[in-house]
């Protein structure tokens, strides 16, 4: 066999394999979306909950003195970025639920009996699905903040918002998928989701700036991944975005826009690397 022939064969093999992975991933993603369309309550609740935050919290602190908020913005504007991030975050936190139910009801076994080209397709389908849902929910909230008069980012700003949300969603999805395989059942998973959700929101700069917080809470907020997502988005809403802009005055130092994004990237890649051995063993 000639060398080029051999190469063709390999290319063909790869091509087939890629097609197979695409086919199975598409089919599995389609299933998740069919579930969502027929049972849209999670989607709706995922939008309603942040909406309630936005309206109630916005009203509660509407008269907060503007000079205490960074850049002298109104509280509604300040809160907007926090709620957008919170929406994406709590959406992505649910990523593990479908997989947990499939584990419990034995549907996962049905998938594992099939000669899947790669079992990553199962994980990939979940990531695609949850990313789409979280972004959709965030977009709905962004539209609401716009209607409430809290502004709209520039094109570059919009790109920053998208990239930031994507990286946060990836990181949180990885964590949730890891939990879905590590925990014994959906009750435990829901419990973890429940107790992660609110404390992470409060211990971030979503609802109040660091200058409002006691030192210990300030420390927590400056270690909280949500803060690294909120601040770039808040900056993107506030005006022209610059990667070198200092966004967080943390007790341990100053973090720039680029710093925030880098931290989120390292976090999402790191989390996927951490859960990989677990997924490999559970899907082996």
């Amino acid at each position: 066999m000639t060398k080029s022939n051999n190469l063709d064969l390999r290319k063909n093999f790869l091509q087939t394999r890629m097609n197979e992975i695409a086919q199975e991933t598409f089919a599995l993603t389609k299933r998740l979306f069919l579930q969502l369309i027929r049972r849209p309550s999670t989607l709706i609740v995922g939008i309603l909950q942040p909406l309630i935050w936005l309206i109630l919290f916005g009203a509660l602190f509407a008269n907060a003195p503007q000079e205490l908020l960074p850049g002298g913005m109104s509280y509604g504007r300040f809160l907007g970025a926090g709620v957008i991030v919170f929406t994406a975050f709590s959406g992505a936190l649910n990523a593990g639920l479908p997989i947990m139910f499939d584990r419990e009801f034995g549907f996962l076994n049905r998938l594992l009996i099939a000669p899947l080209s790669s079992r990553s397709s199962i994980v990939l389908a979940s990531v695609i699905y949850i990313t789409a849902i979280s972004l959709l929910q965030s977009a709905a909230i962004m539209a609401t903040t716009y209607l409430l008069g809290y502004g709209w980012p520039s094109t570059v700003g919009l790109l920053i918002v998208l990239v930031t949300l994507l990286m946060l969603v990836f990181a949180v999805t990885a964590m949730s998928l890891g939990l879905a395989f590590a925990l014994p059942g959906h009750i435990e998973l829901i419990a973890v989701i429940f107790i992660t959700n609110l404390p992470l929101l409060f211990a971030s700069t979503a609802l109040a700036p660091i200058s409002y917080m006691p030192t210990w809470l300030g420390w927590l907020a400056c270690l909280n991944p949500l803060t690294f997502a909120i601040e770039p988005i808040r900056a993107a809403y506030a005006g022209p975005f610059d990667l070198d802009m200092i966004l967080i005055h943390a007790p341990y130092g100053e973090v720039t826009g680029l710093g925030c994004l880098s931290i989120l990237m390292v976090l999402s890649i790191g989390l996927f690397l951490i859960i990989r051995p677990l997924l490999n063993s559970k899907l082996a």
């Binding site: 197979e20 069919l34 027929r38 996962l108 594992l112 099939a114 899907l283």
Partner: protein, 337 residues
């Protein structure tokens, strides 16, 4: 030719030994029945063949492929119909079949053509577009059978295919399995229903406590056992003393091979006799000793007798014995990924 070969399989769940060195050869083209009471290791065996479970030790070969070395190739060979049907209730039967087809990488045209064929063949047209959550047990099982067959596997594996089904669904599935068998497909099914294995299987193995205790065709197994079975009662409910007296009396009669007292059924007596000619003589002897015959039934040996012979227990009794011991919740947990 051998379709499936199992060699000295060992599998434990914690302290419970599910398989203790199980070896089995399933010939190509056979309709192979795996008979055994609940908890004898049937499901574990099937799950290992389907690559869902890895054995602690032993070898599994399907169509000559080592299932532990190349599980993906084995999955392609096998269609598996599990015991509890796991379906996504919110999808329609058709959507589930399409998903299944995509997971086996069928192209769309082939997939849809085969789905149509199976829908017709399994009589599913009326409800295939309804959400599967509304299906009855029989409908679910037919849907599952269809998804097991969609990629035209060489080997079809069914775990208790008719357990809990209505008679109509059961006979439909039996008929289909017989058809597949005629077409030369290899079918392996597990069952704890004697009549199911007896009616369907061309070859079979009896499992008990994680090992194979007998194998052959149902006919062979029964024939090997030989003799006729007689159940005798002198009263509707006898007692221990009385039944032991009769046992002593009967065991000495020429042509009576074995007399077992069945305590669970009112101290009735189970006899194995060489042939019918013994019966008149047997009645005479009973009359002489002043015992009346309340009821007497006679039958050819059944698979239950084969099981009884090998284990000293009736299948049903063993079933009841195990029923209380198994912790299904724990077993589910163990089988969860």
């Amino acid at each position: 030719m051998t379709a499936i070969e199992l060699h000295k399989l060992v599998k434990s769940y914690g302290a419970v030994k599910a398989l203790k060195g199980l070896s089995l050869k399933i010939p190509k083209g056979s309709l192979y029945g795996l008979l055994g009471p609940n908890g004898s290791g049937k499901t574990t065996t099937l799950k290992i063949i389907c690559t869902l479970l890895a054995p602690d030790a032993g070898k599994v070969t399907v169509s000559g492929i080592d299932a532990l070395q190349d599980p993906r190739a084995v999955r392609q060979e096998i269609g598996y119909v599990a015991q509890e049907v796991a379906i996504d209730k919110i999808l329609t039967g058709l959507e589930l079949l399409e998903l299944q087809g995509d997971l086996y990488h069928l192209n769309k045209a082939t997939r849809d053509k085969r789905i149509q064929e199976l829908v017709d063949r399994l009589d599913m047209a009326e409800w295939i577009n309804r959400r599967s959550g509304t299906y009855s047990g029989g409908m679910k099982r037919r849907l599952d059978l269809a998804s097991g067959l969609l990629h035209e596997p060489k080997v079809l594996i069914l775990d208790e295919p008719t357990v809990g089904l209505d008679i109509e669904s059961r006979s439909k599935i039996w008929k289909l399995l017989k058809e597949f068998h005629k077409q030369g497909k290899t079918i392996l099914l597990s069952s704890h229903y004697l009549e199911e294995v007896d009616a369907l299987a061309s070859e079979m193995a009896i499992m008990d406590c994680g090992t194979v205790i007998a194998k052959g065709s149902p006919e062979e197994l029964k024939k090997e056992l030989g003799g006729d079975r007689v159940t005798l009662r002198v009263k509707e409910f006898s007692n221990e003393v009385e039944s032991e007296q009769i046992q002593k009396l009967l065991i000495n009669i020429h042509g009576v091979r074995q007399v077992v007292i069945n305590k669970a059924e009112g101290y009735s007596l189970n006899l194995v006799i060489d042939d019918e000619a013994v019966l008149p003589f047997l009645k005479q002897e009973l009359a002489k000793a002043d015992f009346q015959v309340f009821a007497m039934t006679q039958s050819r040996p059944s698979l239950d007798d084969v099981y009884l012979q090998a284990t000293g227990r009736r299948l049903m009794d063993r079933e009841l014995e195990v029923a209380g011991q198994r912790d299904f919740k724990q077993e589910n947990k163990n089988s969860m990924r």
